[in-house]
Amino acid sequence: MDIFEKLETLANSAKYDASCASSGSERKSPFGSAHISGICHSWSGDGRCVSLLKILLTNHCEYDCAYCINRKSNDIKRAIFTDDEIARLTVEFYKRNYIEGLFLSSAVIKNPDFTMELMIKAVRKLRLEYHFGGYVHFKIIPGSDSRLVNEAMRLADRISVNIELPDHKSLEKLCPEKDKYSILKPMKYASDKILENKKNRREKFAPAGQSTQLIVGADDNTDSKILNLADHLYRNMFLKRVYYSGFVRVNEDSRLPMVKEPPLLREHRLYQADWLLRFYQFKVDEIIGADSNLDLRFDPKTAWALKNLDRFPVELNKADYETLLRVPGIGLVSAKKIIKARRFSNLRFEDLKTLGISAKKAVYFLTLNGKYYGLKTENKDKIENLLLEYKQDGLFDDKTAEKTYLSANTGNL
């Protein structure tokens, strides 16, 4: 098989992994560098950021996960890269500025350790023989030995172990060869190592931390299950990112739900909720009740505000930063702007636009110098309807946050 066909096959097999970030690492070397906030180089037709050469080392797989295109029982074209092919492709693409670096994953060939050894060999060649100083994301194979995880972390900027399914019941049903332990053990090992290394800062050791991915909609787990798990991973495993990937049905399999289209809106609401957890100081139980799903009609912050109307309106000229962040229509950037600007002068209704606040949305939740500009006959149903009518062209409260979010969705940050 020539390199053209190989690349096509092994890129096609890798594309369902959502993560693509190239951020969190600062590297300088004679050939290549890593940019702390990451750089997107392109966007594919599905609107996802492209910043890394995302490939599998091989799609030969010993396992048979129900949802996966590469599973053993599928009759598909199989291929395997040599270490030199991987290194040369990365370098040739990198010096044309097509990419920030390499994202290397793999199906399980023979067994997890054997696979990891091949992957390590390729990345080692890239780093040591080609002196590559760009970004490397290394996908850890569940069940592999800690010694190999350690080796991968020394070569990579970021590592990830994909959880994919949020509980062991689904795992048993859909990925019979994997178990919870095989996934969590390398993840825990990595998080301990990252913590340890932060303390004594001896060498570069996965400086961009670790991430994971959860598939949404391949089983019947609820959003609250997913968000609680994500929250746990952020708090206790210090993950940098959790990616949510709407289930795409690529295999005919009776264990899988019959869905024609991936649940993109649900995935989107999960990302929004994830942001509230990480940047807006929300707690999981404020966003979602036990055993339930997010309201698809509203973004989770607006949904929260509608449930807590008794806390509103708040005074724009007095409310503290945390309170401002909870006002629908005010994002991270505009909340900071408000704090700055009102030190300078009292803010008026006309100033909302200049500050980048979507007044149409915020107006129900704010007073300006004591005056309320929202609905006179304050009632929840009416506000709900008006907010539903108000079609957001964007997904977020301010444009800058939206751009950051969108590239962060699958890319930077």
Binding site: K15, H41, S42, D46, F93, K95, N97, T354
Partner: protein, 239 residues
């Protein structure tokens, strides 16, 4: 209304700003037009004075100096007046002026500067090099703003040991890097002969790019908002 006409150069721009601030001119322009209502003053560029004024702004605040430069690089219509409105505030309030975001002048300057920085950030990703015979890496761009000065250090850090050229075809200027030496120069008449390897690598990349799209998730509008059509001419995978 009193108006200053200057020669369009960076020094001239600084001279014009200084004069406008200190002698209360309302507008600055580099275009000489028949003005019916304005009283025009043609300004002679003075590099020494410009340097002194640059220092004065720097003392005012580092941010003010950075913004004054970025506004110049923006090259958008009437950027001089945006700079003037902003600097009036900076002179009045010092570094605190940055907080006066409800002020239209400060906010306009802030937004325009962000636009310039945003474009330069995007081009760190959008620039595509081709390998020429002899191994020189060559890229062509046509950005809205004059961002070469903002791109120089990033690409120098990344590809310092390569010979590379980033050519702004709108402005006929280029970053030219040889190991150990990097500068921005005027160039014209660019003729290119690609290396043998080049065509093949491009095909590989284009096919990779096509392959990774998930058909079930197609969102062409979103893609367009990230990679505007105006930039695509110079981006290999969209050619």
């Amino acid at each position: 209304m009193k108006k200053i006409i200057y020669d369009g150069s960076y020094f001239g721009y600084l001279n014009a700003l200084e004069k406008a601030l200190k002698e209360n001119f309302g507008e600055i322009s580099s275009k000489e037009e028949e003005e019916l209502f304005a009283e025009c003053f043609n300004l002679e560029t003075d590099a020494k004075k410009a340097g002194a004024f640059a220092n004065e702004i720097r003392k005012l605040s580092a941010e003010a100096f950075k913004k004054t430069q970025l506004l110049y690089l923006s090259e958008t219509p009437c950027f001089e007046n945006t700079a003037l409105g902003y600097l009036k505030n900076a002179y009045k309030y010092g570094p605190a002026a940055e907080n006066n975001l409800a002020d239209k002048g400060v906010s306009r300057a802030d937004k325009l500067c962000k636009k310039v920085l945003y474009e330069s950030h995007r081009f760190k990703g959008f620039i595509r090099f081709s390998e020429l015979e002899g191994g020189i890496m060559f890229a062509k761009i046509a950005p809205e703003h004059n961002i070469l000065p903002l791109l120089k250090s990033h690409f120098r850090t990344r590809f310092g040991r390569l010979n590379f050229v980033i050519y702004d075809e709108k402005r006929n200027r280029a970053i030219i890097n040889r190991p150990g030496h990097c500068e921005i120069m005027e160039i014209s008449d660019v003729k290119l002969r690609f290396s043998e390897n080049e065509k093949r690598t491009r095909e590989l990349w284009k096919n990779f790019f096509k392959t990774i799209e998930i058909k079930e998730r197609k969102k062409p509008k979103l893609q367009k908002s990230f990679v505007p059509l105006k930039y695509r001419r110079n981006i290999t995978e969209f050619e």
